[in-house]
Structures are given as structure tokens and as C-alpha cells.
Symmetry: C2
Amino acid sequence: MNTDNTKSQMRKGMLEYCIMLLLRQQPCYANDIIQKLQDAEMIVMEGTLYPLLSRLKRDGLLGYEWRESTQGPPRKYYVLTDDGQQALAQLDASWEEILRTVNILKMGN
Amino acid sequence: MNTDNTKSQMRKGMLEYCIMLLLRQQPCYANDIIQKLQDAEMIVMEGTLYPLLSRLKRDGLLGYEWRESTQGPPRKYYVLTDDGQQALAQLDASWEEILRTVNILKMGN
DNA sequence: GTTTAGTACCTTGCGATACAAGGTATTCAA
DNA sequence: TTGAATACCTTGTATCGCAAGGTACTAAAC
């Protein structure tokens, strides 16, 4: 059993939450997100991120706007929609619940 | 987007950790685990649990012993092996890392 | 003008896994 | 002996992270 796979599994499902937390602060394009998550000690691959952003966009939780770059092609900056804000609030609640669960299990019920 | 699905997504990958946390306290059989996790506000289905226990057993992280029941067929009580203890320690570290990540993202980096 | 390097966005195929549904086996009481 | 309760397990489906590969645009080098 390799630890990387386990850790990867634990990150599953957290990614969506983390990305929306990021976008709550400010609009970002893909490489922004990858970099900022890396700064927060979470790795996300391109092949993971793009489909995830597309899905959140399709579900109406994110919108985007094109912005020119000083060097290179234009960038797609994603923003939280109102629905996204509401969904994020629910994710906050879910996160708190998971925190409680783990704490209970650590205490030894 | 329904909340249940969202919550389900966030639980993904946490299950393995939560089950091992449980078994760190005491040996349990399947229904024990389902009940105790439910007490800790986490839902797990039979069809999820049995394959997961089999996998952890196959990977050498869990062992089990049969115990007679006062009513009904014998039960398979799972226990953490030494390897399981070590793996759990790594999962503890991964969990701490996720905690840090979420806190950083919540602060607004 | 053409080529090359860099940046950015996206898709495809694969493996892992949660879950619903269905199946088998054992025990005990009616 | 039959039925209900308990316990263990398997199969099929959908979802998602990830590696690899592909397309498109920009700017600088030649």
C-alpha cells in the first residue's frame, strides 16, 4: 500500500471545496489556482482542474470572463456566482460536520 | 445540485481514515462500524464497507477473528495490524495537512 | 515571414471507489 | 420445518482524480 494513493484518496472530494474557497477570495484562472493551492500544500493536476471547473460552470456555481495577459494568450478568470456562494456555504457546513466526525472518532466514543 | 451529493463527495476518501480511527479504539464487526460511524454523523453503506474492509485486509492493514454471537451467526471482528497502525499514523499526518490547507484557504492567502 | 518557445485551455483513457441492489449462509424461535 | 433476523459478500453503475496527449494563441529569434 502506498501512502500517496491514500493521501490522494483523502483529498478526493476536498478539491471542489478548496477551489471554491479560493475563488471566494478573488477571481482566478487555472494556473493561479494550481499555484495558490500548491502554496496551501495541496497538489492539483491540470487534467483534474479543467474538467472540475467546467463542471462547476455547467452547474451554475461558477462563471468566467476572458482577460488579456501581458504575455501569452488570454486567460479564463473564474468567479463564484450567487448559487456558488450558497453552495459554498453548504460545503462549509459539511466541512464542519466532517471535523466533528473525525474529532469524535479520535476521542474514542 | 443537491446537498446530499455534495456531502457525499466530501466524505469520499475520508471513510478509510474514519474506519481505521474506529478500529484503533477496539475490534469491531461490520454492523458495529456502521452504527458507530452513524453515531459520529457519518453514513456508510454495507456495499461500501465490506469491499473496503476486504481491501484493507488484503493490504495487510487489518486482521480479523471470528467471534460467536449470542444471537445470530458468528461475526468477523476486524483489528488493526502493526502495519495498520503505521498506515494510520500516516493518515493522521495527511489529515493534519488537509486541516492546514483548509485553514489557509479560509484565511484568504 | 517563418520558426521556435512559452503559455493556456481542453480531451481521452484508465484506475479507484462509493453506492444501490441483489445474493448466500447461519442461527433461533415459532 | 418454516420464517425472520442477522451477517457476510458480489455485481453493475456512475463519478472522479490523474497521466498523457492535443490544440490554439502570443511573442521573440532567425
